[in-house]
Amino acid sequence: MASHLEIELEKLKNVIVKINNLAENQVFEAVGILLSEPLSDKKQVKKTENKIDKLEVKIEDICQSIFALQQPVASDLRFIMSAMQISNEIERIGDLAMSMIKLNKNINSKYELVTKFNIEEIGREVEKIVIKTNVCFQNLDAEAIGEIYILNNSIKQKATAAVQNIIDDIKTNSKSIVSGMNLIMVLRNIERMGEHCTNIAESVYFMINAKVIKHEKHTDKNAEEE
């Protein structure tokens, strides 16, 4: 029979999986709207955002309770420490997705811009990184961590290139300033989502290996080694 602590840890894991799935849906929604294929209505999106916020608070409450009442040590302690950080990162991903959804309204001729600046590829990559991060946490998959770094680096490079192209376009076509600037902010949000995913991956690494790797420089080469 599972101990009291094991039951609480399982409960915590299930809530994190839940919030992860909701944030994933928000990202798909944001990318879908960007690529002109919205998946659900505004009410549902707002509901999901509220659920994410409530679950983040619930996770903190569960962690506080476990710390105070169960005195976890070793891997259990690392799991709970990481759980608090991960839920915070996920909540930020949800916020960024909501911000993207709002910014989309100010982008005219979206389809043309998306095609012109190769945005679809970046959108699909951020969907991929969010899914991979979710699986990485659920399965404590150390191999996925390296893949997440590689994806993040790719998103950063592509987004940086796209931003530069948009800026160059704005210089020659002043009518595209508003749409261009909003699209730049969307791309910055996508980059930040990638960063949050790598932060989650680093927390998973800490859970598995009891080693802190945040703030270390990650190139594709050492990402493959990880």
Partner: protein
Amino acid sequence: MKDIKIEVKDLSLYYGEKKALNDISMLIPSNKVTALIGPSGCGKSTFLRSINRMNDLIPSVKITGQMLVEGVDIYDKNVDVVNIRKKIGMVFQKSNPFPKSIYENIAYGPKINGMKNKTDLDEIVETSLRQAAIWEEVKDRLFDSAMGLSGGQQQRLCIARTLAVSPDIVLMDEPASALDPISTSKIEELVHELKEQYTIIIVTHNMQQAARTSDFTAFFYLGELIEIDKTKTIFTKPSKKQTEDYITGRFG
């Protein structure tokens, strides 16, 4: 709170002239674990023994106030104290199995209460040992001496012995303080399971144990009840500074 098992009203206890418990009032809920914590000499064990009138055995003890168990004041002169101690069982810090077989330790109580049928006794012995999570370890040696069991097993045997007479309430006075960590963990898990059927009150000087095992925690200091609340509240945001100071190790 609904489902209150014990209501304590203005209970004071004197050892001769010395007042050991001062106007204690509290509610103890049914089918929950209530932990009593506090520094040495604060009165928690004295209070625990008041619940099943074990303090009656001390000649100089005087009690005022009321101890209502399911609405009945157990200190009323018409109350049968032997029946009280059957309904409110107790497990002590140092395990005290009888120098008899494992079987006889458990069967002793029911036999004293008039049970004679062997099938019934066998059933009670097995049920009690299962409830105390020790059946699998002793089922093949029920007629071996209980004194041959390890410390942790003896304590679980004592718990089984308490359960064999079908109590409503189980009092535990530092039941794991003499045990190794593994045995302690088993006792704590057992407490967690037993509350489904019994109301449990546990005295412990180990705050972390109180935090792990109980639903409610009462903090005693110098014979007074300082605070009682849900365990989570006591260990995350106690309302009294004294409680905060004690649980954070600043005194006691």
